[in-house]
């Protein structure tokens, strides 16, 4: 059943990269939105949450316009580095990252807003700089909530279909992820392949969701 494991490996690679990127970006932006007061804060939050509600095809279209060879970012990347993202697995990573980003952002912002600012003040008075306050107080108090969001984002990235298909296409072995492979298998009437792919996808997602569920009720002693 080699034809099932190759898209699974690719899906895990794409979801892994997108989750790593979202972890860094989501924590940074989540902290910013939770702790800084500035004009347009809620507007930024709303724009960054859009991928959760927009149809993936619309996101895929936006991405094509932006990172396609004639798009502003795509043209710059091609002229400067000779890099083309369309129909590559890196393009699939960008699509999955965008779609799953709100899940990390929402979780991170809520988790940071739940950290008592008094504790951070206590750490400052005790001689810590802002980086140490973050790594020794803020993050340890918030990480359960963040991790729950990160796992959901991983599951979402693993199942990404619409935007991925539009940006990365469906090249077997190169950009054909699990969810795209299911679609292709069904279209080609290969029901046995589709069955295996669907089963693998379902099991992977259940494992991820169970892990996320265990982390959601923060068991940090209060």
């Amino acid at each position: 059943m080699d034809s099932a494991w190759i898209p699974l490996a690719l899906s895990l690679k794409v979801a892994g990269w997108s989750t790593a990127i979202n972890l860094v970006l989501g924590v940074a932006v989540g902290l910013l939105l939770a702790r800084r007061r500035f004009i347009g804060r809620e507007f930024i939050d709303a724009v960054l949450t859009l991928p959760m509600v927009l149809p993936p095809t619309v996101l895929g279209y936006y991405l094509l316009v932006l990172i396609g060879k004639r798009g502003p970012i795509g043209a710059w990347l091609y002229d400067t580095f000779g890099v083309n993202l369309i129909f590559t697995w890196q393009g699939a990573v960008i699509a999955a990252t965008l779609v799953a980003f709100p899940l990390v952002l929402k979780a991170a912002r809520a988790a940071f807003e739940n950290v008592d600012p008094q504790l951070e003040k206590a750490a400052r008075v005790l001689g810590l700089n802002e980086w140490s306050v973050f790594f020794r107080v803020t993050l340890p108090m918030a990480w359960r909530g963040i991790l729950a969001g990160v796992l959901l984002a991983f599951a979402r990235a693993l199942g990404e279909f619409g935007a991925t298909l539009m940006v990365a296409g469906s090249i077997p072995g190169r950009t054909q992820t699990l969810s795209v492979a299911v679609y292709e298998a069904v279209q080609a009437g290969q029901d046995s392949v589709a069955n295996v792919l669907v089963l693998i996808t379902s099991i992977t997602c259940i494992v991820v969701l169970l892990s996320a569920g265990r982390l959601v009720p923060g068991r940090v002693a209060q």
Binding site: Q118, L119, K121, R124, L126, G127, S132, A221
Partner: protein, 238 residues
């Protein structure tokens, strides 16, 4: 110790504005700032510690400038070296008693280990009779133990002065009296200057070597007539 404070700060919440205008000098070893809830006591204490930036004015401690708007001096909280006891203690819930006490001994990116030792930590654990609960987390402690842990955490770095935010308000009345004597003894033993804010008159007799009165953001050296008449319990509602 000597505090030389002359600051102003306006805090806004929605359409409400609160003006704090605090000016005092104190050379007493024990200073108490007394006032009802909402008078601006906590804001004052936070400004002294560097946790709140005043709009204008200056703060000096023992002749050293900590904040001066005009010459753009603002020593960050981490360098002011004050011990600060928060009203609800603000113990780190993810760390055990030992780690909480040792917290300020290292300034790096990592918390002390669960078995962190050292002469200072062990001495403060003994002083406050916390050795038996050293491995427990704050949620497992009694009210008195929490306060002792918070005091040990504030004192472990040998601060220049102790700032206390309503230190006994979180305790029931019986425990309050006991912790008052404990703190009194401790201050005499280690001879550290302190500044306390309180809305409890009973604190003044013991800790108010010098007492300042704060009301509606303004400080004075004499209690306002209404404060003299009012009983402490009726002040809560102000």
């Amino acid at each position: 110790m000597s505090f030389d404070v002359d600051i102003a700060k306006t805090v806004s919440s929605g359409k409400r504005h609160f003006h704090l205008r605090v000016k005092f000098q104190s050379t007493a070893r024990r200073t108490a700032i007394y006032g009802p809830s909402g008078a601006g006591k906590s804001l004052t204490l936070q400004a002294l510690a560097g946790l709140l930036t005043p709009d204008t004015g200056r703060i000096a401690f023992d002749g050293k400038l900590l904040f001066d708007r005009d010459s753009k001096v603002d020593v960050p909280a981490r360098e002011r070296r004050f011990g600060y006891l928060f009203q609800d203690y603000a113990l780190f819930p993810h760390l055990n008693v030992r780690q909480n006490i040792a917290f300020g001994l290292t300034a790096g990116l990592r918390n002390p280990s669960a078995q962190v030792g050292g002469e200072a930590v062990d001495r403060w654990l003994r002083t406050f009779e916390l050795t038996n609960v050293a491995a427990q987390h704050p949620s497992e402690l009694s009210g008195g133990q929490r306060q002792r842990t918070a005091l040990a955490r504030a004192l472990v770095n040998s601060p220049r002065a102790l700032l206390l935010d309503e230190p006994f308000s979180a305790l029931d009345s019986e425990l309050r009296d006991r912790m008052r004597s404990e703190l009194d003894d401790l201050l005499q033993r280690i001879d550290i200057p302190m500044l306390m804010i309180t809305h409890d008159k009973d604190d003044l007799a013991r800790f108010g070597e010098a007492t300042l009165y704060l009301r509606d953001g303004l400080i004075s050296e004499r209690p306002a007539p209404s404060l003299l008449r009012a009983s402490p319990s009726s002040l809560h509602a102000v």
